[in-house]
């Protein structure tokens, strides 16, 4: 039986054209679900959050997973994108033109974030490892602090009452764009450079890889999509403040990256989905709804002593989960492996050799 399943899976995974089919089905569903209310509003909302988290995770995986740097600045780029997009739709663009100009605002947010990504890339020429983590952290804190000190954009109070312009089709569109761009980047000439930087930066310099250029590109692509995710996020949450984009937000994305596994787009998608859905499933109301079939004698005490407290305890469970993943499952769901549909045909052979860990690759990358 399992052999049959296995061979069935092998056949399925070999049919690359199915990817296009799924893509089209996805787009159709993304339009149909909100239009005909196929799923309830809450599930639609969770789906949009899953999409935004996939964008964040895949883009952070480019720097943290493929390039082997340790960036903590992702929430900062997200904040920049969110503020740019929100300011554009709230204060600059005419209200009448909103639904059509919304993508423009999101795009602008991404571009501004990308420019800042270039700035963060500069110190990464000289500094690696722990110190780069500190620099990116400082960048995040500075972004937060600057936003807090500009009164025009609401200071510490943030921007309330943003129009809800993020829709399921747009989220799906940007997820597809993110996966497509990052995948093509990773398997391009520059992608090889990115991997070589992770394995050994000095050696790749010697092999005439233009490491500066590669780093510029990687940081730019990564922060661009973080900005996009920020713009979508702002117009979904409808309220942003500097507090939304603090170190905890970055930690969330890090958890998703490492849960899914480094250097794997398929893993990032799985990690982001699993983490977001799990976090939603642990909500007291969801758990109560799922267990409502239990007899009242069992349900009531359970509800009183366990379920109603989950709101706080789920925030305890998640970091614990991260630590346990790191201790017992350090490669995550798909660490350094890739879903075959994302690997170009010409790389199918080479992929296995390329992505094999060379015995503590991160240590080698530290140059010691």
């Amino acid at each position: 039986m399992s052999a049959l399943l296995r061979s069935g899976w092998e056949w399925f995974i070999a049919q690359r054209w199915l990817m296009m089919v799924f893509l089209i089905i996805g787009f159709v569903l993304a339009f149909a679900i909100p239009e005909y209310n196929l799923l309830n509003k809450y599930v639609q909302l969770v789906m949009m959050y899953v999409g935004i988290n996939i964008i964040l995770t895949v883009s952070l995986n480019l720097v943290n997973g493929y390039m082997g740097e340790f960036s903590l600045a992702h929430a900062g780029f997200m904040a920049v994108g969110a503020y740019t997009a929100a300011l554009l739709t709230q204060k600059v663009l005419p209200i009448a033109a909103h639904p059509w100009l919304f993508p423009l605002a999101v795009l602008m947010g991404g571009l501004v974030a990308a420019v800042l990504g270039l700035i963060v890339a500069v110190p990464s020429f000289k500094v690696r490892g722990d110190y780069l983590a500190i620099i990116t952290l400082a960048f995040l804190m500075i972004v937060k602090s600057v936003i807090e000190n500009i009164d025009y954009i609401g200071g510490p109070r943030g921007i309330p009452g943003i129009k809800k312009l993020t829709t399921l089709p747009w989220v799906f569109f940007w997820v597809v764009v993110t996966v497509w761009v990052v995948r093509n980047f990773v398997y391009s000439k520059y992608g090889r450079g990115v991997l070589s930087i992770r394995e050994d930066e000095i050696a790749s310099d010697l092999m005439s890889v233009n490491t500066r250029r590669v780093k510029f590109m990687a940081f730019m692509v990564s922060s661009f999509f973080a900005g996009i995710a920020g713009g979508l996020f702002a117009h979904l949450l409808q309220f942003i403040s500097p507090r939304v984009f603090d170190i905890i937000k970055t930690t969330d994305v890090l958890i998703m990256v490492y849960l899914g596994g480094i250097a794997s787009i398929g893993g990032s998608i799985l990690g982001a989905t699993a983490y977001t859905v799990l976090l939603e499933l642990l909500r007291p109301s969801t758990v109560a709804a799922m267990l409502a079939w239990l007899p009242a004698m069992v349900f009531d005490p359970l509800n009183e002593y366990v379920i109603s407290h989950l709101g706080v305890w789920r925030m305890v469970i998640m970091p614990l989960l991260l630590v346990l993943v790191m201790l017992y499952w350090p490669r995550g769901i798909m660490g350094l492996r890739e879903f075959r549909w994302f690997v170009p045909k010409r790389d199918m052979e080479a992929h296995h050799c390329l992505n094999k860990p060379t015995g503590g690759s991160h240590d080698a990358a530290d140059g010691r």
Partner: protein, 295 residues
């Protein structure tokens, strides 16, 4: 004395108080980095838990100041060793990023666990009788003096332990080389645990003093103070114990002066800009030595 000198003296005193608290925490960061070349991002939260231990000892057990301080230090030290044994030790040979992530996760865990147990900010009772003297316009409180003196005392004690005792010698040896030092009969695991215990104990002491100086504590207080202490350690040259102390007083001074002359919301901005500037110009800190990169 003229107005401005009084003002400066007052601010210097405040800076010393803040700096000494930062220094106690920064020492934990720098010791762990020195010995394991790993940033213990959960350290700021050990400091926070220390403040909560202080709350428990002072309110539920009703202890006076000195037993509270000792109990807090012991509790924090235990927590530090526990974290090291359960979370960091299995990862000692793993990629370094795993250890950083684990530390971040542990910090978040400590914060949210404390939040789940203590949802509202807690108020610490005054454990010490606070007398304020007026020295020519500069108001000096006994609490400030105690905090500064106690911190300096602990720092000198640590400096003595590290530079003059066999345990300290073993610590320095391990930070120098982890391959051959164990062959000389140095119990590496024990020494690493001792390092964590000392670092966490100092953070616990800092937690007590912070709680006395700023008596409202909450589960997220460790994040910012922890990062600031970490900046201090980097400014002084991470891995260098005297550097961490100097860095902490510099950062405390800068922060107090920024708040004295600019709106207080600029404080974090200046602190982190300072860090950024320093890493780009002098990445190994004030007292740190540049590490040459070996291929």
């Amino acid at each position: 004395m003229s107005e401005s000198i009084v003002y400066w003296l007052q601010q210097t005193l405040n800076a010393l108080q803040l700096g000494s608290i930062y220094a106690l925490i920064a020492l934990g960061y720098t010791m762990v980095y020195g010995i394991l070349t790993m940033i213990n991002f959960a350290h700021g939260d050990v400091f926070m838990v220390g403040a909560f231990f202080c709350f428990i000892a002072a309110v539920y057990l009703g202890l006076p100041f000195l037993p509270t301080l000792l109990l807090t230090m012991a509790g924090a030290a235990l927590l530090g060793v526990l974290i090291e044994r359960l979370a960091y030790k299995p990862l000692r040979n793993a990629p370094r990023v795993s250890a950083i992530i684990t530390a971040l996760g542990l910090g978040l865990f400590l914060e949210n666990f404390t939040l789940a147990l203590a949802p509202y900010p807690k108020h610490i009772p005054a454990l010490l009788e606070n007398v304020t003297w007026d020295l020519g316009g500069v108001s000096v409180s006994s609490l400030q003096i105690i905090i500064i003196c106690l911190s300096l005392g602990l720092m000198f004690l640590l400096d003595y332990v590290v530079h003059r005792t066999p345990v300290g010698m073993a610590m320095r040896a391990i930070s120098w080389d982890k391959t051959f030092v164990p062959l000389m009969g140095v119990p590496v695991d024990l020494i690493i645990s001792v390092t964590f215990a000392i670092g966490a104990g100092l953070a616990g002491a800092a937690g007590t003093m912070y709680a006395l100086a700023y008596p409202v504590i909450d589960p997220y207080m460790g994040i910012m103070v922890g990062w600031k202490a970490f900046i201090s350690a980097v400014v002084g040259g991470i891995g260098n114990i005297r550097g961490a102390m100097i860095g902490a007083f510099i950062l405390g001074g800068v922060e107090i002066m920024v708040t004295a002359f600019f709106p207080s919301t600029y404080r974090d901005f200046v602190a982190f800009s300072l860090l950024l500037l320093l890493i780009v110009i002098r990445p190994y800190g004030i007292l740190g030595k540049p590490r040459t990169q070996k291929v």
